[in-house]
């Protein structure tokens, strides 16, 4: 991993279009500013972890299929049957 030492207001460029600025440092907290084109997704790494955990949790249960059918009937388009491919609800 590349490690750089930067002071407040110093910046780092990643490629030509992404700029990372050290905005402030207070105790063990660092505020970081990020300028990036709209096509670049920027988020805290915890988001990945959160989604990973949600996937793991959703995959582990032994889902009762009859309960699913009953509950589904309460949702919009709940009476729909058949299809087999992902499709949108009621358009």
């Amino acid at each position: 991993m590349l490690v750089l030492t930067r002071a407040i207001n110093d910046a780092i460029m990643i490629g030509d279009n992404i700029e990372i600025v050290v905005v402030s440092v207070k105790g063990d907290k660092v505020r970081i500013g990020i300028k990036a084109p709209g096509s670049v997704k920027v988020f805290r790494k915890e988001i990945y972890e959160e989604i990973r955990e949600a996937n793991l949790a959703a995959s582990s249960g032994d889902v009762p299929q009859d309960a699913l059918s009953e509950l589904g009937a309460k949702l919009k388009g709940g009476q729909r049957r058949g299809g087999g491919a992902p499709e949108s609800g009621g358009e």
Binding site: E50, A57, A58, S59, P64, G72, G77, Q79, R81, P86
Partner: protein, 149 residues
């Protein structure tokens, strides 16, 4: 194609309903092909059954059946990974976490939706930048206890 499953036994899924997730799902990088089938008992829920791991299956659902104004912002880069040029041609679904003992308390992962490109049979789990979405959105509301919640 034929898929071996723990839940449904051996099932036959039309090839066009077997989706390639080039990047897998977060936490399951090795399972990249999933067959999509309707819940055998009917209703808006569908199953996404891994073709690579018989035990692995997810319940998925069109989020607009319980959240009409759910809108996702998806980058061109995400779309290009599944050869989708226009979001209009894609289908957004979300993964549900259904507690076996209390299915009514099911939650939906709105932060990491799935986008399907039916024309190419490719799909991807999107990590959204919209931080106000939860990975545990209660499908039937917070107070889903008795009947008619």
């Amino acid at each position: 194609m034929k898929i071996q499953t723990t839940r449904f036994g051996e099932i036959e899924i039309p090839d066009e309903h077997v989706y390639l997730f080039p990047a897998g799902l977060l936490g399951f990088p090795d399972s990249i092909r999933y067959g999509v089938l309707d819940n055998p008992g009917g209703g808006p829920f569908q199953w996404m059954q891994s073709a690579d791991e018989p035990r692995l299956a997810f319940v998925i659902c069109d989020p607009r059946t319980f959240l009409e104004d759910y809108k996702v912002a998806i980058t061109a880069e995400d779309l290009s990974e599944i050869d989708l040029e226009d979001m209009e041609a894609g289908v957004v679904m979300v993964i549900l976490n259904v507690p076996p003992n209390d299915p009514k308390k099911m939650t939906a992962n709105l932060l990491g939706p799935l986008v399907f490109n039916p024309a190419a049979s490719k799909a991807k789990q999107i990590v959204l930048m919209q931080g106000d979405f939860s990975t545990r959105h209660p499908v039937f509301g917070e107070d889903a206890e008795g009947e008619g919640a």
